[in-house]
């Protein structure tokens, strides 16, 4: 155990950094994607509803590993076949796209449900005062929806952090990928995966502690 930590400590910390980097990047984009598709799904425009539903169904209907292979191997090949033979996509970019798309679909559902949980009368009151639909959304409905969404959003953050491990299959140097290397070099499977597991656990438990605090603070004003 000590041997692994001494020899591979810096490598593990770096890998954890990559895991966190990939997760944070993906969460930022997932929030944007989720907000966009979530709003599409609550509106009354049939075309937007349709696009939103197709996106959510498509992404949720595909295992994350398939999506990762599709984006990392499939998309570049497709683009090459169009004649753009210089096109390259690194593991970080492919990984971020994969995780953002995946997390974004779940986020869209969380946001849709959150918005729909706000009483219709809130929007009506806003509209009756002369506010536009988008102003009503931005100033009245979404701020109230976010409160109910926070626990689900943080839960989704944690799931995404764990899902980032799947991107070890596209050679992204995150924790699991580095773990495989260490296991191959040392043959110490038990210690290696115990250490990796513990590292995930520390980050995730910290995250849920922070989330509990945020939740309590947000609920205080109610």
């Amino acid at each position: 155990m000590m041997m692994i930590i001494q020899t591979y400590g810096t490598m593990l910390i770096k890998a954890l950094g990559q895991t966190v980097l990939l997760t944070v990047l993906s969460l930022v984009f997932a929030m944007i994607i989720g907000m966009a598709f979530g709003l599409m799904n609550v509106g009354h425009n049939r075309l937007l509803n349709f696009i939103g539903t197709v996106y959510v169904d498509a992404v949720r209907g595909v295992p994350l590993i398939v999506l990762a292979y599709f984006i990392y191997f499939g998309i570049p090949q497709g683009i090459h076949s169009l004649g753009f033979t210089d096109f390259r996509m690194g593991p970080l970019l492919a990984g971020t796209i994969t995780l953002s798309m995946n997390c974004g679909a779940y986020m869209a559902e969380i946001i849709r449900a959150g918005i729909q949980s706000v009483d219709r009368g809130q929007m009506e009151a806003g509209r009756s005062l002369g506010l536009s639909y988008s102003a009503g959304m931005a100033l009245i409905v979404v701020p109230q929806a976010i409160r109910t969404m926070i626990p689900s959003i943080i839960n989704q953050f944690i799931i995404t952090l764990k899902d980032s491990s799947i991107l070890s299959v596209i050679a992204f140097p995150e924790l699991v990928n580095v773990g495989k290397t260490i296991m191959g070099n040392t043959m110490k499977c038990l210690e290696t995966w115990a250490i990796i597991g513990a590292m995930y656990m520390v980050v995730i438990i910290t995250l849920s502690k922070v989330s509990k605090k945020i939740e309590r603070r947000v609920n205080r004003g109610r």
């Binding site: 009506e124 009151a125 806003g126 009756s128 009245i140 701020p143 109230q144 109610r222």
Partner: protein
Amino acid sequence: MADSNNLGSSVSGKNKIIVRNLKKSFGSLEVLKDINIEVSEGEVVVLIGPSGSGKSTLLRCLNQLEKVTSGQIIIDGHDVTDKHTDINKVRENIGMVFQHFNLFHHLTVLKNMTLAPVHLKILSKTEAKDKALKLLERVGLADKAEAYPSQLSGGQKQRVAIARALEMNPDIMLFDEPTSALDPEMVGEVLAVMKELAKEGMTMVVVTHEIGFAREVASRVIFMEGGYIVEEGTPDEVLDHPKEARTIDFLSKVL
């Protein structure tokens, strides 16, 4: 005031509200069947009738919270059923008070009132705040400016909701069963504020089951049933000397 703005097609007249041949269906269910009403400035029109008679739907059509199926509604000279009319602009002049108050739960009383006028740049932040405090004083809630809606009683919530609507300086006020969700001891305080408003000459359309309020305040009472206007006239005519059998029947149940 709104007449000076270009809000699309304009029809002149001193009538504040004109409803012509209004029909409204929800799917195959026809809720309003050929409604015609005119409301002139300063009038207080009270709509009564059994539930499902279409009175709330009619009220909600006036500010287009419900889209009409056919017919025409002209508010302050602006045809709100015309697609080219800027409905948001027209709504600035029509205050609405809801049965369930619909205060914004995440904002203080003061913010509830100042949100729309400040966002729409009708009032500056300071103007809006000063005005809100004056209005709160008028409805007897000067000490509640910083309270959240959840800290208020039903009657207080409804008075805030009225003040919020007045903050926009509307020249028409719509009330959709404003006292139906209140505990009996709180009905009086809300009706008192409404009476005050009526006395000041506000044009009001009120859907209510408070027959006493109608008798005391209404300049006209309209009895609706099954999507039609069955009878209309002064409170004395409709409430005390009804001619239609259906009006008599309804009044015998509620009085």
